[in-house]
């Protein structure tokens, strides 16, 4: 039974020269899902190890930034196997639709950030009356 067919990807590390936040430690690009429904845009980001207090979500004009900081991990004893690296997360997105800023909801649970961005109410189409002359 081949059940081990899920693909593990090494996290993409952000190079130091890329103008990233000037914090200590490594930064990784979190894997995300983004989907859109009729009334909202939902963004899910895998950020394992981030505690709710260490997460920043910022929307500046149309640029959405998510930063999750991961503190020092247990380094007791000796390393026998090291397949993944631990570090913080950083990623920015351009939000092309008008978003209702006041209604943005962010939940971090079990290392997954779930961000719901409600779409701003569209301007009501205006019908221009034409007067017969």
């Amino acid at each position: 039974m081949a059940e081990d067919n899920i693909t593990a990807s090494q996290k993409d590390q952000i190079p130091r020269h890329a103008g990233e936040p000037t914090h200590e430690g490594s930064y990784f690009t979190p894997a995300v899902d983004i989907y859109e429904t009729g009334d909202e845009i939902v963004l899910l980001a895998d950020m394992p190890g981030v505690e709710p207090g260490d997460l920043d979500v910022d929307l500046n004009d149309d640029e959405l930034t998510i930063v999750g900081r991961v503190g020092a991990v247990d380094d007791e004893g000796v390393e026998l196997l090291s397949e993944y690296r631990v570090g913080s997360y950083y990623r920015t997105f351009r939000i092309s639709d008008a978003v209702d800023r006041a209604g943005i909801k962010a939940v971090l649970s079990d290392g997954v950030l779930s961000l719901a961005l409600p779409k701003a109410a569209k301007a009501v189409p205006r019908k221009i009356p034409i007067s017969g002359g």
């Binding site: 081949a2 059940e3 081990d4 067919n5 899920i6 693909t7 593990a8 990807s9 090494q10 590390q13 190079p15 890329a18 894997a31 995300v32 899902d33 983004i34 989907y35 859109e36 429904t37 009729g38 939902v42 899910l44 895998d46 950020m47 394992p48 190890g49 981030v50 505690e51 991990v73 247990d74 380094d75 007791e76 004893g77 000796v78 390393e79 026998l80 196997l81 090291s82 397949e83 993944y84 631990v86 649970s109 079990d110 290392g111 997954v112």
Partner: protein
């Protein structure tokens, strides 16, 4: 049988990889990320990736598996072999939802790891916090180092 889903089929995955490699080549020209900065085992068939540490009396196995339901994660210890098994299920979305990006992997996984020493089966603890699974295994008493006293004649 392909159980992992990233919103694309098998071939789609291959094409995606090819596209990424091309993107890398182009971004290297443009002064962006260099392709050789990629780790050689960026994509493997192994999931989840594991980190293991050893102290004088224990082994600690940790793994980043965000968004798991505890009941979908099975941890077993048989002799010196630790097995992890589970399934990462996709979040439920409304039918009309259209995906712009789908990078988070979902699917069934199974992985086992043979530890370099005997462990006490009754003293295995597992915690799952903020998407990180940590299994702590205490070494068997007989396997613990014992100081040998030199007797004087």
């Amino acid at each position: 049988m392909y159980l992992w889903r990233t919103g694309r089929g098998h071939l789609g995955g291959e094409l995606d990889r090819l596209r990424r490699d091309m993107d890398d080549a182009f971004s290297a020209f443009a002064g962006g990320r260099k392709p050789w900065m990629r780790s050689p085992w960026r994509e493997t068939r192994l999931f989840p990736l594991l980190n293991v540490r050893e102290t004088s009396d224990s082994f600690t196995v940790s793994s980043e598996i965000p968004g798991m339901r505890r009941e979908d994660l099975e941890i077993k210890i048989e002799g010196e072999t630790l097995s992890l098994r589970g399934e990462r299920t996709p979040d439920e979305v409304q039918d009309e939802a259209s995906f712009h990006r789908r990078e988070r992997v979902t699917g069934a996984f199974q992985r086992s790891l043979t530890l370099p020493g005997k462990v006490d089966k009754d003293k295995v603890t597992a915690t799952y916090r903020h998407g990180v699974l940590t299994v702590k295994l205490t070494k068997e008493k007989n396997a613990l180092p014992k100081e040998v006293k030199i007797s004087s004649e």
